[in-house]
């Protein structure tokens, strides 16, 4: 293993060692996605029972929306909270004086984000299949692209949150839990972008999530794979990830100038 990979693994091992011994921590990862799936799954079942066929298709879109949104949410929280764990344990000083490069730190946090998301979302996907006969994999190969795009969106939002924590310290911590809920209304999770007022539609279309959900509904409702939306999601993710990386690099440097790495979290 190269020295860089070993440093990345070292930081991931620090988090994995915690989860290995703590079943409540593991349970917490799956708790909210499963709860969400229960609520929206039963809602979809109720509507299907009362209205019939059209509601069944809408119910599938609803559950697909819930699951893919959870991918973004868990990816974002997985990265942000893994960073916060270092602050809470007052360990950042040791980490930042080790040879771990900032980009390796981010890659380790992304690795943890992926694992936390997978552990959290997999039971909800299984539940949707067992309880509501909704098979997310019926979306076909496009699902892989949907998944990747939603994860990447979670990562750049999280990098923005980490940058704000570096800039503003503990005062910015609540963003790690709440920031994505602020983007949800514009992400077209449960309704098409066209439902939004005209002045809000450009905001929605600047978010990769809106294109992913439009693409998902295209497959579920019309049986069409919308490559235009997929390409737009990929392009926007590249742009936003680049911008978030620059912001992180700048805030990390500024934190070193201000001495914030010595006192962050206090």
């Amino acid at each position: 293993m190269s020295a860089a990979l070993r440093r990345i693994w070292g930081l991931m091992y620090r988090h994995l060692a915690l989860y290995r011994r703590s079943w409540p921590r593991l349970l917490e990862l799956a708790y909210w996605p499963v709860l969400q799936m229960c609520i929206w799954g039963f809602t979809a079942s109720f509507l299907t029972g009362r209205i019939g066929g059209a509601a069944a298709t809408a119910g599938a879109a609803l559950m697909g929306g819930v699951l893919l949104w959870e991918v973004t949410l868990r990816s974002q929280m997985g990265l942000s909270i893994s960073f916060l764990e270092e602050i809470w344990s007052r360990n950042l000083g040791h980490v930042f004086v080790s040879p771990l490069r900032p980009h390796e730190l981010v890659l380790a946090l992304i690795g943890m984000s992926f694992l936390r998301m997978a552990i959290g979302v997999a039971p909800a996907i299984l539940l949707a299949w067992l309880l509501y006969a909704f098979n997310l994999f019926s979306l076909g190969p496009a699902l892989i692209l949907f998944f990747i795009n939603m994860m990447v969106m979670g990562w750049w939002v999280a990098l923005g949150v980490v940058s704000l924590i570096l800039r503003h310290g503990a005062g910015a911590e609540p963003l790690a839990w709440g920031v994505l809920f602020g983007l949800a209304p514009f992400s077209a999770v449960f309704y098409p972008v066209s439902v939004l007022p005209g002045f809000l539609q450009p905001v929605a279309l600047s978010l990769p999530a809106a294109h992913v959900f439009e693409g998902m509904r295209g497959i579920l409702l019309d049986g069409v794979v919308r490559t235009d939306h997929l390409l737009a999601a990929v392009g926007l993710n590249i742009l936003w990830l680049g911008a978030a990386s620059l912001l992180f690099a700048r805030q990390f440097h500024q934190a070193r100038v201000r001495g914030a790495l010595l006192s962050i979290g206090e």
Binding site: R90, V97, G259
Partner: protein, 246 residues
């Protein structure tokens, strides 16, 4: 060649001048003591040497590497210990040492952990969470972490704070042995004057961000006409005598 070369190092936070153009150097095997009251600039100096803080002006070269441009090459060969920066308290001692062994790319890591456990009497603590240790045990674990990569430069911020006299002596003896065996260069910030007298080959007296005096412990005692470094420290801190560099 000097292992540590600090030149005109300055750190300013808006109107506050935390470190004011200090310069010093340390050859291989030296132990430099940083002495000064609270707010004298010791921690700021160490933070700049570790790359945690960007200097306003001046240069730092460690092991031949310019810390402004090439700090990671130097950081791999250095380490740091401070009782004021914690290790993850839910991880066991062994897990903590493994984390840092990976971060420093230590080969033969399990063997290195076993060596350190034997030398610092940590064997019985390896499977205990770091958060359940006493202050003295935590300090020994922090020291083990700082030695995991066999550093050539070791920066220590009050390494024996919270230790009882017996354990403090054990740690000091261990540091002396490590320095003798490896030729490690040590920078030590401490308020324990007896420790500084025992370990340091050279002492920098800091006040308000400036080096106000320097010399070996023996030279300082003669210069100030005192029997111990604590009295020298008080002479400088209370302006009873001025350092020769003021």
């Amino acid at each position: 060649m000097d292992v540590i070369a600090v030149n005109s190092l300055t750190k300013r936070y808006d109107a506050v001048l935390a470190v004011d153009g200090i310069s010093f150097a340390a050859p291989a095997g030296a132990t430099i003591g940083l002495l000064g009251g609270n707010g004298a600039g010791k921690t700021t100096t160490i933070a700049m040497m570790l790359g945690l803080l960007v200097p306003t002006a001046g240069t730092i070269r460690i092991l031949g590497h310019d810390m402004a441009r090439d700090r990671f090459a130097a950081l791999a060969r250095m380490n740091f210990s401070s009782p004021y920066i914690a290790l993850p308290h839910r991880l066991t001692v062994a897990e903590n040492l493994r984390v840092y062994g990976h971060l420093y790319n230590v080969h033969g890591l399990e063997q290195r952990i076993a060596e350190l456990a034997a030398e610092l009497d940590l064997g019985a603590l390896l499977d205990r969470p770091a958060g359940q240790l006493s202050a003295g045990q935590k300090t020994r674990v922090a020291l083990a972490k700082s030695l995991i990569n066999r550093p050539e430069v070791l920066l220590l911020d009050e390494p024996t704070a919270s230790l009882d006299p017996d354990t403090g002596d054990l740690v000091r003896t261990w540091l002396e042995r490590y320095r003798t065996q490896t030729g490690c260069t040590i920078l030590l910030a401490s308020h324990n004057m007896a420790e500084v007298e025992r370990l340091c080959t050279d002492v920098l007296m800091l006040k308000q961000g400036r080096i106000v005096d320097r010399g070996s412990p023996a030279e300082l005692l003669v210069r100030y006409g005192q029997a111990n470094l604590e009295e020298v420290f008080l002479d400088i801190a209370r302006d009873r005598k001025q350092g020769v560099l003021v």
